[in-house]
Symmetry: D2
Subunit: 148 residues, 4 copies
């Protein structure tokens, strides 16, 4: 199993909504940024996969504490939670970086699938990528509520 | 069981990302708008609940087809899927309005909890609201992938 | 001179920022939506121009009153304020629709230029389009502060 | 005259629109972030002004070159361009940081006014703040098109 990858994702003041907290939808924007920052280094052959086409098939996210804008980034820890023939799942913890504190703001999971945009059909993971990803599978996300 | 409520939610051109499709994160923005448009009419005592404080505790969303910006709105059908002591869950289908087509773009579910912002603690659903919501509980969301 | 075109642009709850008003940046998002909704009907040959490539070269916007989210859309009145060899300017008033009230929230102007994305160079307005646009030029935007 | 302040503002992948460039509206989001990052250090008494209430009264922005998402931030250089009884103007250059390149993407200016939110009226700049700001006034923004 590979180590989780920790991306530092800066907040924007505009991530807050009229309640004065980072809006629940913007957390998924932070996850997107974490993937853009981190997957290239973290997932074997990510650049090739991305160039050939990859789509988000699902998200699940659980909010644990409110987050208010501050200059310090959040840390998004990411790891592979599942691999299947056409893609894989990523788990995340959104938390304070160690030097800021120890609050956990959210847990989340994203399903990713390889996709052929020209043919508009799913693609198979090449055997090498599948094997490499399978070796890096970590723990399931520790959601409070196990079933969806 | 109450009928699902169908909110018409306009798209924005900027909902599309660099791939030319409505971005996966923006779907949750559409759900937010559907709640803002619809819950006031749909959920018993919603205005009172909202004034007293309500928070999103989780989202689950599954993407079924890509959606491209068009002038016609999407229809977001919403219904209550579960009620518990401190809140309730909403199910959604994001689809074409009948006069536009029959495509289903996404299924989703949101957990909502009553919250006392001043005391920073969860609140209990008043018995009347809980009873009214319980009577309106509909089918579970027909996610492709049952377990989170 | 052509009549100004009035686009009705729906607000989103998320257009508000932590101050509880529609954020100043989001006004430009509303103008974008107004152009997407309206220019196709309003500007001669807009579809052809858009297909061939058009870019925003500048914006100027003046905020007159705070706007809070409400279900009713805002009305964005648009007209051509200037035509030149490589593009044209649009003026806007962001206001309440007549049935909602008479508040003016903002005045704005956008510079648009034809652009050849493949060659990465500006293009000239075809003489017919230039003539048609020139005939529709209306008053300058009545900014409070005349000089930039 | 004070030195301009240079804020490094990270991009987000989602700043790009369906044309694959950072969307023109998002530039104003980058300016907002630059103000949030920089004004506290840059403008005398900014924290006090902000706590007492400050609003954006206008923006003017000129786009010089397309910007595509990249990991490196943009540099937003900011300085005071004008001071008056009720507020002041800020000029900006959005450019590559020196270690990335020398491209200038946009020039912009924002009008800011002190505002009493409770009374819903403008406020006067305290004489000390006005004097300090006046001493820091720099060159006008070198817009290509001098008049608005």
């Amino acid at each position: 199993m590979a180590e989780p990858y920790a991306a530092l994702v800066p907040l924007r003041w505009s991530d807050m909504d009229a309640y004065g907290h980072v809006n629940n939808v913007q957390y998924l924007r932070l996850l997107e940024d974490a993937r853009v920052i981190g997957l290239r280094e973290f997932v074997p052959d990510w650049s090739a996969m991305l160039d050939e086409g990859i789509v988000v098939t699902r998200h699940a996210i659980e909010y644990h504490q409110p987050l208010t804008y501050r200059h310090a980034p959040v840390q998004v820890t990411m790891w592979v939670t599942r691999v299947h023939g056409a893609g894989f799942d990523l788990g995340y913890v959104v938390r304070d970086p160690a030097e800021v504190g120890d609050r956990v703001y959210a847990l989340a999971e994203t399903g990713l699938a390889l996709y052929d945009f020209a043919a508009e059909t799913p693609r198979r993971l090449p055997p090498d990528a599948r094997r490499a990803l399978a070796e890096s599978v970590g723990d399931p996300v520790a959601f409070r509520r196990p079933a969806r």
